[in-house]
Symmetry: C2
Subunit: 218 residues, 2 copies
DNA sequence: GTCTATAGATGGATAGAC
DNA sequence: GTCTATCCATCTATAGAC
């Protein structure tokens, strides 16, 4: 750890590479198949690493899950906070509803762009909200901090609305985001006869903002 | 079945009662804990029936799940179709957006009323969409029929909107409904400092209709 | 139809050699 | 730090007595 070793003989993976590979494969399998439908054997098998790697690097299957969850939600919430901060500065402390909602919607939608590495991370996070472990649920309930900044900004931007109303409308907006799962896109595609394309995420983001902004100003 | 038997000697449950009890307990446990987190032993234990009851009455655990799913989605979609039909007649074949959305939103929200037997059924259905078995997923994807009637009605009510736009906005509305899980209500409650109350479902329904109608007419 | 006992399969975790 | 072999728990499903 502290001393640099000259050469690693003939290991298939370096230590970090193994850990990262397990992390990436686990995220993808969990996102696509669900937590309880993926076994440690599935992960290590697809990652071409040893069965014991998960427990060695992460402690347990649940701890691996929680680690992925912490990393991804941390990245996402920092990006949202940064956008909200920028919008606040740009609008001299009083960002309008649409700018606030954009800070909430844009990060996950941009991640979902086809070709983006993080496309699968959004699916992971959405699924984590619905079927996460008890530890993840607890973290979600407590991590109300970053959301409350959005709630306060929205209250300030809508002084004519009751606070209660603002919170409910924020809840509706979160529902719009959480419904962006692969399976729901597929169903919408079938329903619409193929005219809905989720590949153009910037266009979809605009659609979401149009809808949500109008709902907020109702 | 055909002849009325005079007396059932000393069985703890009649045949139908056992089946119904398993059905009800399974629905509740699945809705609250998730499908993979509930074992046949959990169900039969809580229902105070034999371990073999599930396989005897339903064939398998997955078949039990699918049966609950079929019954509940059937009931829900019939109620929605009936309301859409009534709205169509009431408005002489051209129901406005709000009446169409009410036919979509009201049934699950009314079911969710505290004290209603079906309160738990809504949670079951929402969870089924996210983590259902392959059979349920396939049924969902194919059961696009009842939704297409809503889509057509909305297209007719919004002749100025592109069909594509109508489908996306319908997708957003469905997201609003699917986000009404116990866990999300709890989180919103924590976020708002306790001022949001999901107990008043008629008020919540009005809030959802206000938001979604404005979004549709944007 | 009910119930007990058990088969048969799977999964998480770990010991111990290398 | 890696890998194999294995332990032990859990689960679904079923056979067979009553």
């Amino acid at each position: 750890m502290t001393d640099a070793l000259p050469e690693v003989p003939a290991a298939a993976h370096s230590e970090a590479a193994t850990r990262d590979c397990v992390f990436a494969v686990a995220e993808r399998l969990f996102a696509v198949q669900g937590f309880k439908n993926v076994s440690v054997r599935d992960i290590t098998g697809e990652a071409r690493v040893n069965l014991a790697s998960v427990n060695y690097h992460f402690g347990s299957k649940d701890a691996l899950l929680f680690e992925i969850f912490k990393v991804r939600t941390g990245e996402l919430n920092r990006e949202r906070a940064r956008m909200l901060h920028e919008a606040t500065e740009r609008h001299l402390g009083k960002p309008p509803v649409r700018a606030i909602l954009e800070a909430l919607f844009a990060p996950p939608m941009r991640w979902a762009n086809p070709g983006n590495d993080r496309r699968i991370s959004v699916q992971f996070i959405i699924r984590a909200r619905a079927e996460g472990t008890p530890a993840m649920r607890e973290a979600l309930t407590q991590d109300v901090g970053y959301l409350s900044r959005f709630a306060e900004a929205l209250c300030a931007a809508c002084p004519n609305l009751a606070r209660e109303t603002v919170f409910w409308r924020l809840h509706f907006c979160l529902g719009m985001i959480h419904n962006n799962r692969f399976a729901e896109f597929d169903r919408l595609h079938a329903l619409s006869g193929g005219i809905t394309r989720e590949g153009d995420v910037e266009r979809l983001l605009t659609r979401m903002l149009d809808f949500a902004e109008a709902g907020f100003l109702a």
